[in-house]
């Protein structure tokens, strides 16, 4: 069963159109991440889902029922905001309990559920504190406690980790995913951070400028990006792009890049003269002394575990990742070998994937 369905969603703010026609479905109990650069409409879509923003056109359904006109409090959702939006004059206990108090639940029941939520989130020692006496990570947990105390059908998260430092963020990624699995609900999670999307999601919806670029599992999106934008947005270090023209004069097709040539995957039936973008991830290029392909070294970044080798190839800046240290001087020759299985080819004009 689909927990949430979007059909032909459009949103305008006055004369500004943020999205024109968004349709997709989220099946029950899935952790779905809306991923895209800042300003692409993720928050707007989430706010329409929560009912804080009106839908200009189209229909949103929860478990098959249209909810466009349903008040936020009756949608059975909970939302965690980027700024946490805690109530500063209430203690942690009351922050978490507020929604139950408003709904006039019995006192004992409220206490039980708040303590349950606090237990899951390790907040038990802090229930009698005010939010200002908490660290950023603890505030973030309170915001989550406020959401999960309600046992909602759908959790909505809007960049909940973006105000935390890197280490805490990595820990909270794991925590949020663990809580999702434990509660067995549906989660829609908005972020611009592809690592968060890759590590947490069952399914990723990649957006740009109010358009869905691709929907798929993290593996599908990483292995077969649907277009140049997705390939560029997903993966760290980011993918190499080389522009060139197809040349089929010799037996195997190659991509002519200025004066140099790159081998192309076979069996694609590309017409000669077609302009392509050749994408290859740094981890899919081997540093191979025996290879006929060569570039000139720009510089090497050592991260300790691996070396990022930056080099120039036919006027393109490229990078490969090697799992050993490498000592070479700038300007020296770098011989490299791309893994033809992992090459992503995109049309130069449309950016769409063609292999």
């Amino acid at each position: 069963m689909n927990a949430v369905e979007y059909e032909g969603i459009a949103k305008r703010f006055g004369s500004v159109s943020v999205m024109e026609d968004i349709s997709f479905a989220i099946s029950e109990k899935k952790f779905v991440v809306l991923l895209g650069p800042s300003g692409c409409g993720k928050t707007t879509l989430l706010r329409m889902t929560s009912g804080l923003e009106k839908v200009s056109k189209g229909e949103i359904r929860f478990f098959g029922n249209r909810i466009n006109e349903v008040h936020p409090r009756d949608r059975d959702i909970a939302m965690v905001f980027q700024t946490y939006a805690l109530y500063p004059q209430m203690k942690v206990f009351d922050n978490i309990a507020f929604s139950l108090q408003v709904r006039k639940q019995p006192k004992a029941e409220i206490k039980k559920r708040v303590e349950e939520a606090a237990e899951i989130l390790d907040l038990t020692p802090y229930l009698q504190r005010y939010p200002k006496a908490l660290s950023g990570g603890q505030r973030q947990r309170v915001a989550m406690g406020r959401a999960l105390v309600r046992h909602p059908k759908v959790f909505l998260f809007d960049e909940p980790l973006s105000n935390l430092d890197a280490k805490l963020r990595a820990q909270m990624r794991y925590e949020i995913r663990r809580i999702h699995n434990q509660l067995d609900t549906t989660t829609i999670y908005v972020t611009h951070d592809q690592i968060e999307a890759m590590t947490m999601a069952d399914e990723i919806v990649v957006m740009q400028n109010g358009i869905i670029e691709q929907i798929g599992t993290p593996d599908e999106i990483y292995d077969r990006p649907a277009n140049r934008f997705v390939a560029d947005f997903i993966g760290s270090p980011s993918i190499n792009f080389v522009e060139g023209v197809v040349d089929t004069t010799s037996s195997a097709p190659v991509l002519q890049v200025e004066s140099q040539q790159l081998p192309l995957p076979t069996g694609l039936n590309l017409e000669p003269g077609r302009e392509l973008i050749y994408g290859i991830r740094p981890l899919d290029i081997k540093h191979d002394q025996g290879s006929a392909l060569s570039g000139s070294l720009d510089f090497i970044e050592n991260t300790g575990a691996e070396s990022h080798v930056h080099f120039m190839f036919g006027g393109n800046r490229m990078r490969l990742v090697k799992h050993e240290r490498l000592s070479l001087n700038p300007g020296e020759t770098v011989n490299f070998l791309p893994d033809l299985e992992k090459v992503h080819l995109f049309d130069k004009q449309s950016g769409a994937r063609i292999n």
Binding site: S50, L52, R73, F81, A85, Q89, F98, S99, V102, K132
Partner: protein
């Protein structure tokens, strides 16, 4: 870092500024406690004047004994000033309460609700303060006469509240604008009604701003002259208006005027002290916004 000398200089200048503001008040106090013939002594007697309760006794119709005992003279003295102080307090407290209540609700709505043409509101609200009050005084007189509000506490409370509303709304709106909208939205999803959000969440966060606004409204009403003069006759008079009775054809009773003025500072002072606790609380609450 400032050198010790520079720090001394800074403190000195600060105290000079404080002195400049404080001196007239002190001078006014000394006049209230001098005997009449010493008031215009040159050079002015700032410290070694003859201390006397005489002005207070005459203004309020009391006698203050040598040991500090206080006795009310039957008949209330010549000036009946105690009821005038009570009038002032009723009017100032009433109009402040009315203005702050209405302004708080209105400014929250203006801060949160999306209304077409909303950006005209600020100008529209301010425009009501652009004409001089005198221009309104005479029309107000006739309106009040028809509505039977003339010469009543309620009438003055309403007119003072009306005068205060524009600035109170603008001031409070800026405080509400500073409270992130997401807090309202979180509460909305939590299931709270608009009014509950206002009462339980947003208003407590804006309490400092509300206190500051209340102080301004109170001070305005406490010192307002023109409308009280034109819209009252006999049943009430506030302190600023009644002060003018000390200016007579045979001279001005400076000592009595000062005694009334000094006494009139006390309720205003108490009000501000009461509200100031909230001012500080409001400020510390504000500091935890992320």
């Amino acid at each position: 870092m400032l050198s010790p000398g520079q720090r001394m200089l800074r403190a000195l200048v600060a105290w000079m500024v404080v002195g400049i503001f404080f001196f007239p008040i002190y001078y006014w106090f000394t006049i209230a406690f001098r005997i009449d013939k010493e008031i215009f002594e040159i050079p002015p007697l700032l410290l070694d004047f003859t201390f006397s309760w005489q002005s207070f006794e005459e203004v309020f119709g009391i006698t203050i004994g040598a040991k500090g005992g206080l006795e009310v003279v039957p008949g209330g003295g010549n000036y009946y000033m105690v009821p005038r102080l009570v009038d002032s307090i009723i009017v100032a407290v009433g109009s402040t309460a009315l203005a702050v209540t209405v302004a708080t609700l209105a400014s929250y709505a203006l801060s949160r609700m999306r209304i077409p043409g909303q950006h005209h509101f600020v100008f529209w609200i301010l425009s009501t303060r652009m004409m001089p009050p005198v221009a309104v005084a005479i029309p107000m007189f006739f309106i009040y006469k028809n509505f039977g509000l003339l010469d009543s506490h309620l009438g003055i409370i309403i007119v003072h509240a009306l005068m205060n509303l524009p600035l109170a709304v603008l001031l409070l709106k800026s405080f509400f604008d500073d409270i992130p909208q997401e807090i309202d939205e979180a509460a909305l999803i939590d299931g709270a009604s608009r009014f509950l959000i206002f009462r339980k969440i947003v208003m407590p966060m804006a309490i400092g701003g509300i206190a500051a606004t209340a102080v301004l409204c109170f001070i305005f009403s406490w010192t307002e002259f023109l409308f009280v003069l034109t819209l009252t006759q006999t049943s009430l008079k506030t302190v600023p208006v009644v002060s003018t009775t000390f200016v007579t054809s045979t001279g001005t009773a400076w000592g009595k005027m000062a005694a009334l003025g000094v006494t009139a500072m006390i309720p205003a002072f108490i009000f501000i002290l009461l509200v100031q606790k909230n001012l500080v609380r409001g400020l510390t609450l504000g500091s935890l916004k992320q």
